[in-house]
């Protein structure tokens, strides 16, 4: 059992989303940073789709009331145990009674906390993801509050072997972590690759050039549904109405005011604004870690290149999963031994 001592700004249970119900208007949702979520699960021997906690900007304080193997991936939200800064992107073993304290964001915006076994919440339409607007999924359809308790399911054999090793300290870290080939280079200024959108040719030549040349600022009205971007105003060659059709995560749609909206995890299933571009899926984790005020630019990429990059990433993740499975014994490092 884990007890929430302080909930943080917005801490929700997420998985890989409510896939398969978009035709009924059901929002997919799921982890904003798919990669961090998946890697956190792989680090603790879970299926990559197991529910994790998505922790946003200002983190919670969480008390583990039983021994657990956890991993924290994604943005650096200053996680500590008794003042020791916890390393990210590696398995951590915490003993019963340990309090994991998160603080503010030092890098990125969202951290993912996986526990071996996966957080135990009911599935709604095949997913554990919290969708706040409809009040479904996750822990009672809402963000975590102080006093909530969350259980986790039985850890897999790998984590059980790790838990069976003798412990020296309240928290210990594995002596290895995920390679930098897999970890995204989260920055407050990013350039991401985009594929031309279905209505790219509706825009003026100047607007299309400006779109790729400019740097856009993430607006204050940005959340899990989408980011409002401030930069050059983009205009259509002539006024045109789009009949509503599907949108997806990473879609850049442009309402009549000319300021693009970058749709994220909790986007609607369909939209009626012209779509100038679509962020390549492999680059979405960089977008997921942006905060209001951060900056983003868009470089054109071909569909074939985007799909090649995606397949390479999936191969890398498969290799990571296989490597972790081959590590039943770890020489755990306690705070003292880590220095």
């Amino acid at each position: 059992m884990m007890r929430v001592l302080r909930p943080g700004l917005l801490t929700t249970v997420q998985d890989l989303g409510r896939v398969g119900h978009q035709r009924h208007g059901v929002v997919v949702g799921g982890a904003m940073d798919e990669l961090a979520h998946r890697v956190a699960n792989l680090m603790v021997g879970n299926d990559e789709a197991a529910p994790t906690l998505e922790i946003t900007l200002v983190g919670p304080s969480l008390k583990f009331e039983a021994d657990a193997v956890i991993a924290i991936c994604g943005g650096d939200l200053s996680a500590t145990v008794a003042g020791w800064k916890l390393p990210l992107w590696r398995p951590l073993r915490v003993r019963a009674g340990t309090v994991v304290d998160f603080g503010g964001a030092r890098q990125g915006c969202r951290a993912y906390l996986a526990v071996a076994g996966g957080w135990d919440v009911p599935q709604v339409l095949g997913s554990a993801s919290t969708y706040l607007r409809a009040g479904i999924g996750g822990h009672q359809g809402r963000a975590l509050q102080a006093g909530d308790t969350l259980a986790w399911r039985a850890p897999g054999p790998l984590a059980q072997a790790w838990l069976a090793q003798a412990a020296e300290d309240a928290v210990e870290a594995a002596p290895w972590s995920v390679s930098y080939q897999i970890r995204p280079d989260y920055r407050p200024q990013v350039r991401v690759r985009v594929i031309a959108g279905p209505q790219a040719d509706w825009f003026t030549e100047e607007s299309r050039e400006a779109f790729h040349a400019a740097v856009f600022t993430v607006g204050s009205q940005s959340d899990r549904m989408g980011y409002r971007l401030q930069g050059p105003t983009l205009s259509l060659r002539e006024p045109r109405e789009l009949i509503s059709e599907a949108v997806t995560m990473g879609t850049l749609q442009v309402p009549p005011d000319g300021n693009p909206i970058l749709l994220m995890a909790d986007r609607q299933t369909t939209g009626g604004y012209a779509k100038i571009a679509q962020v390549a899926r492999v680059d979405l984790p960089l977008v997921a870690q942006l905060k209001p005020g951060d900056q983003i630019g868009f470089d054109p990429v071909s569909l074939a290149e985007a799909q090649r990059a995606l397949r390479q990433r999936e191969r890398d993740l498969n290799e990571l999963a296989a490597a972790v499975r081959g590590l039943p014994g770890i020489s755990w490092r306690s705070r003292a031994r880590a220095g």
């Binding site: 208007g25 594929i195 959108g197 009949i243 509503s244 059709e245 779509k275 899926r281």
Partner: protein
């Protein structure tokens, strides 16, 4: 079928364009393609999003690239034909019009030079086709609103519209399944739940259904709500 365009929506979806206008024949082609893809469900298929004139096919780009998906879809389009579709389901939705549930009923009446009772009569005598579900879980885009009660959206959207509210926006009418902000003219409310996350499919309505609205009194609204007949 050579006029059908198929184009990428990013690196994991293909948009099949079956027409350029919202009309029942394009809608039937959308439904035919959905049935055909669902029936054969290739291993790379993630899910489909049917809309007014398009079917967007989400696929696993690790298993297939765009060209493969497009070829497969064209092979299905070539034999789509004019097959009759299964007969539409007819769904009746009880609505308590006006009063606190429909604060804009008077606006719709005044805009069209009608009495409130005439608006109710016209709205509830209509037969509406569910073209698509989108915007929110279970939200139906309905065709078939009489021009006589068409009314533009409010200039300032409301911050929150209660679930079950029936509204009009231009030539469209619809029902809000969950509480959301919105700019529609609100004419009534149904006690029936349109979004049912505990069920599969999780919605009262599906694309292709025919909807009729039955006027009910506030007492009947309460009785339905309390009687649990609305699921």
């Amino acid at each position: 079928m050579q006029t059908v365009r198929i184009e990428p929506l990013g690196d994991g979806a293909a948009v099949v364009r079956l027409g350029t206008r919202i009309d029942p024949e394009t809608h039937r082609q959308v439904r035919r393609l959905v049935l055909a893809v669902d029936r054969d469900a290739p291993p790379w298929l993630v899910e489909l999003v049917p809309a007014f004139t398009t079917v967007t096919v989400f696929y696993d780009a690790v298993q297939a690239d765009f060209a493969e998906v497009e070829d497969w879809l064209r092979s299905r389009l070539a034999v789509l034909g004019d097959d009759p579709l299964p007969p539409p389901r007819e769904v009746r939705i009880p609505v308590c019009y006006g009063g606190e549930f429909g604060p804009d009923l008077g606006v719709v009446a005044a805009h069209n030079g009608l009495t409130e009772d005439e608006v109710i009569s016209i709205h509830s005598q209509g037969e509406y086709l569910v073209y698509m579900i989108g915007f929110a879980p279970g939200f139906p885009y309905l065709g078939g609103l009489s021009e006589r009660i068409a009314t533009p959206r409010r200039s300032t959207p409301r911050v929150s519209i209660p679930a079950g509210t029936v509204g009009i926006a231009g030539m469209q009418t619809g029902v809000y399944p969950i509480s959301t902000p919105g700019g529609w003219q609100l004419i009534g409310r149904t006690p029936v739940r349109l979004f049912r996350p505990e069920q599969d499919p999780p919605t009262l309505l599906q694309a292709g259904d025919i909807v009729r609205f039955d006027p009910i009194s506030p007492e009947e609204y309460q009785a339905l709500l309390e009687g649990g007949d609305v699921q």
